[in-house]
């Protein structure tokens, strides 16, 4: 069980006020807050051992390198990758996806097919569109139903020996749907296609086991799971990472350079050109330590309670409609109130100290599907409370009263 009162003490930001009201932070799907334990690691890095890594012979460089590589091992262990060099440090999910999309430019031919789910974030649509334009491959969409669940029978029909790549998020940022990724992966593999799963929204809630999933690529952003911004990872199976060409050229990623030819460094450095976000990588490891100390099972169970309570209370509001009602979903509630614009509701909630996201959530195709301009999205984390759900509901009622 989670002791939320104790946990909240770890997050200094949760004590602050916004517009004269206690902050109720319900925008966790956009970015999570940072516990003191992670902030301390960031401060410790800059105060005590800030140095460039992998090249200095001096003590600070050694120390920073060791801690950075320990962080890589923590990530490896957390996601159960076979080898630590299959974990590539990136600036986040978008960067991770672009490494793969860029790499496939040389591996695809005209007429090859790429499948992408209907509920993707723009960051998991645009790089593939660009890849399709570069290669002449065809982008096809796996549709969803009104509840926000993928139509798996249509997926079966779309799969063929032309399918080379399948992309899908583990959890939808706009709807909270948990996708059946094991089934998606197995079926794609049956036709010889590679699969990238965008785990940005899943990683804060579910501990993914990349070996058990047999996934080819899995991407994560640290800032959505109590870590810093500008940091993330790409997991790739060794065989795939060896096949893909480097994404960026620069220092760190080379073995030998002459003006005639450069040979690339081994994994993972081949994909880590330039000085990385060293502090960010170390803090990412600390964030995983923090979340694992609480326990992902306890986190998921508590967040499910928050989801059920918030859903039940919000649905009592007349005219309120929830988008994304999949049976299997995480603690994200996207909603609108009949006749009201999400921007107006969000503006008033902000005045009442309640932080939610409004708009299309970088997933315009989903909004087009429902024929709405956007939604209000409340997303809950393990440090939110039932009382905060009550504050949200009261604030929505007040906004409704003012706007109608």
């Amino acid at each position: 069980m989670i002791d939320v009162t104790e946990i909240r003490k770890d997050f200094p930001i949760l004590k602050r006020e916004v517009n004269g009201k206690p902050l109720v932070y319900l925008d966790n799907a956009a970015t999570s807050q940072t516990p003191q334990q992670v902030i301390d690691v960031i401060v410790d890095y800059y105060q005590n051992y800030n140095a460039n890594i992998h090249r200095g012979v001096h003590a600070l460089s050694q120390e920073a390198t060791d801690k950075y590589e320990v962080a890589r091992q923590k990530i490896q262990k957390h996601f159960n990758a076979k080898n630590s060099y299959e974990i590539i440090f990136t600036s986040g999910t978008t960067h991770s996806i672009n490494i793969v999309a860029n790499g496939f430019t040389t591996l695809l031919e005209k007429g090859d097919e790429i499948l992408v789910s209907a509920m993707e974030h723009h960051s998991n649509i645009v790089p593939w569109q660009m890849l399709a334009e570069r290669t002449g491959a065809v982008l096809k969409v796996i549709p969803m139903n009104l509840a926000g669940e993928l139509l798996m029978d249509v997926y079966d029909e779309l799969l063929s020996n032309k399918t080379k790549l399948v992309f899908c998020n583990h959890i939808s940022n706009a709807l909270g749907t948990i996708n059946p990724i094991k089934e998606i992966i197995d079926k794609a593999h049956a036709v010889g296609a590679a699969v990238l799963i965008d785990g940005a929204q899943a990683a804060p809630h579910i501990k993914a086991d990349v070996q058990k999933l047999d996934v080819d690529f899995y991407t994560v952003s640290a800032h959505k799971m109590c870590g810093p911004t500008g940091e993330g990872m790409l997991y790739g199976k060794e065989e795939w990472l060896n096949k893909l060409p480097p994404y960026q050229g620069g220092g760190e990623m080379i073995a030998e350079v002459t003006f005639e030819k450069t040979t690339y460094a081994d994994l993972p450095h081949k994909f880590e050109a330039g000085t990385p976000n060293i502090c960010g990588g170390i803090a990412f490891g600390a964030a995983l330590d923090y979340m694992n100390a609480i326990g992902f099972e306890a986190i998921a169970a508590y967040e499910h309670e928050l989801l059920e309570y918030a859903t039940q209370e919000l649905l009592k509001i007349e005219g309120l409609k929830i988008y994304g009602t999949a049976k299997n979903k995480t603690s994200v509630i996207s909603f609108n109130i009949e006749g009201l614009h999400p921007y107006d509701i969000g503006s008033i909630l902000d005045k009442l100290g309640v932080a939610v996201r409004t708009g299309h959530h970088c997933a315009q195709p989903i909004m087009d599907f429902y024929k709405i301009p956007g939604t209000v999205r409340a997303s809950f984390s393990f440090y939110n409370t039932m009382d905060e759900v009550d504050v949200l509901v009261k604030a929505v009622l007040r906004a409704k009263g003012m706007l109608e």
Binding site: H341, P342, Y343, D344, T358, H360, G374, M402
Partner: protein, 140 residues
């Protein structure tokens, strides 16, 4: 009235409100009550897309003055548009070009002009000024 005088008048009106609730209620009323744009001008060409709400703007020269009409799909945005139109419409293009928008800060609505809101308002103001520049060139 000059733009600056109108802006001062708006600032005066808003100074009577005690808190944000009253300001917002006033804006919501403004948004609801004003017929802002002829439907035929709500075209794709006249739309300014923000990630949050849409804004439509149309400009017409009447003698030497520029008349703006506009609309939005969000009511608070519409309220601010009503205020902007009151300040900038029916003015000479050169005066619109020279005018500033600091009064929005003074009436406590600064956050709606922040780029993070992405509600189309920042682009709308830019568009008003661009229209003014275009028509000023025409007048010259």
């Amino acid at each position: 009235m000059q733009i600056k005088e109108i802006q001062d008048e708006i600032v005066d009106e808003f100074s009577m409100f005690d808190d944000w609730m009253q300001r917002y209620e006033y804006m919501i009323d403004l948004g609801k009550s004003l017929p802002l744009i002829n439907e035929k001008y709500k075209t794709a060409d006249n739309i300014i897309k923000g990630c949050q709400s849409k804004v439509w703007v149309h400009a017409e020269l009447e003698e030497d003055k520029l008349v703006f009409t506009a609309d939005s799909d969000a009511i608070i945005t519409k309220g601010i548009i009503a205020i902007l139109i009151r300040a900038f419409s029916n003015q000479k293009p050169q005066d619109i070009i020279d005018a500033d928008t600091d009064f929005i800060d003074e009436i406590g609505l600064k956050e709606h002009l922040s780029p993070t809101r992405a509600n189309g308002l920042v682009s709308m103001i830019k568009q008003l000024k661009l229209y003014a520049v275009a028509y000023q060139t025409q007048l010259n």
